[in-house]
């Protein structure tokens, strides 16, 4: 093989990567925000003793976990406007779809985290007269969140990579921009490699921060 690598091309078109990375970061940001808030609510609902809260949450979580994200995205982009009359841009649809998807997984992370807390902690906080919200906020969640960080970062990294599915909605995220560039330059190897590097640069700081945080908590207690 006498393939001649040409990474010069990546540098020449660096603006394209920056532009794509910004869209990817925006999608991830909004999807994570929505997924976390909704996931928390769903996770709490699913733990509820009240069936009216528990069953809809369970149905939501299982439906989103059992179906492909790609279908979810397409469905939200094309079907939601028909059903609700709500017209959204492709970037907003993509962020919404990924956020709704992530919520199902984050709800499960949240539930597992809360369930992992020793029963004695619940007893002790109830015995000193705490109400449910006080107990959650002061005793259970501070401990559960520490255990939720690693799976949460996992989910975040997955979500960041799932933004590449935005290309089916013609969202100009990183992979979509890169594909266009390949069609112009015929340099798929260099450009895909660069895409991988950009994703790693985006994700790694969060992995590093989570590891440092875990270490910090291990030392403290």
């Amino acid at each position: 093989m006498n393939y001649v690598w040409d990474f010069q091309i990546v540098w020449e078109y660096r603006q394209v990567f920056v532009r794509g990375a910004i869209i990817t970061a925006q999608l991830t940001f909004w999807a994570t925000l929505l997924g976390t808030v909704l996931g928390l609510v769903l996770g709490l609902m699913r733990r509820s003793t009240n069936a009216v809260l528990r069953y809809p949450a369970a149905l939501y979580i299982e439906a989103f976990r059992a179906t492909p994200v790609l279908v979810q995205l397409v469905w939200i982009y094309y079907s939601l406007p028909i059903l609700s009359g709500l017209q959204m841009g492709n970037v907003a649809s993509c962020a919404l779809g990924l956020g709704l998807h992530a919520a199902a997984y984050i709800a499960e992370i949240f539930r597992a985290g809360v369930n992992s807390i020793d029963k004695g902690q619940w007893d002790a906080s109830r015995a000193i007269g705490m109400r449910y919200t006080q107990m959650m906020r002061r005793i259970i969640l501070p401990q559960a969140i520490r255990r939720m960080i690693p799976p949460f970062i996992n989910e975040f990294a997955t979500l960041l990579k799932l933004t590449t599915l935005g290309s089916v909605l013609a969202v100009n995220e990183l992979l979509h921009e890169a594909t266009n560039l390949i069609n112009n330059t015929y340099r798929p190897l260099e450009i895909y490699t660069a895409v991988a590097v950009v994703f790693a640069i985006l994700i790694y700081p969060f992995i590093y921060a989570s590891q440092r945080l875990e270490q910090h908590w291990r030392i403290r207690s």
Binding site: G120, R126, A127, I128, G129, R138, P142, S221
Partner: protein
Amino acid sequence: MSDVILKMLDLHKHFGNHEVLKGIDLNVRRGEVLVIIGPSGSGKSTLLRCLNFLEEYDKGEVLFDGRLVGYRRTKRGKLVKDSARNIAAVRKRMGMVFQSFNLFPHMTVLENVVEGPIVVQRIGRKEAERDAKVLLERVGLGDKIHEYPSKLSGGQQQRAGIARALALRPEVMLFDEPTSALDPELVGEVLEVMKSLAADGMTMIVVTHEMGFARDVADRVMVMDSGLIVEIGPPANIFSNPAQARTAEFLRRVLH
């Protein structure tokens, strides 16, 4: 003000098909130390947990200071579960100490002790910390207040657990096998703290296997077996002259 602070009337509790409490009637007077003994599985811990409604009883009544615990009566006389606010309110008038300590691991000893006063009773941090330091000094942990629970021995953790319960200035203290998880050499320091509480006139209900403590500190000893009270009386009677064969049999086994 009634002399009786806690009253149980025909108290029943079952888990699935297994009936753990089969009708308990009992009065506890203010300032009394009641020690509950009996074989494991006899319902001692469940009884204790029904008193502050950590366990929901199925039938009968628990009355604390004349008020029904955990349930309220509707106009038609039916019992329904009480509001979370009322349940929490009655719980903070009782302190509880657990077999496995159950300290909050993400908080220092001092933070554990001030948590109830600050969050539940809404006392200012300064005042709560001042009171907590006095309590921690009293249980011999004056030099450990800024440690995390994982850095403490079992005996120290349990003493911190007692301080946490006392911080709410409870009217009754419930002890659920407070020394059962401790290495033998650490049992004494916890019992000493409990003895000094009893000497100060605290109302205490203690589930324990420490027969020495029962004999020396209890005003009354209650023997339970299979969800029922076998007998109840002053320790001198129970230990030297048990009226029931089952008491004699149990004591023979534990005192070898």
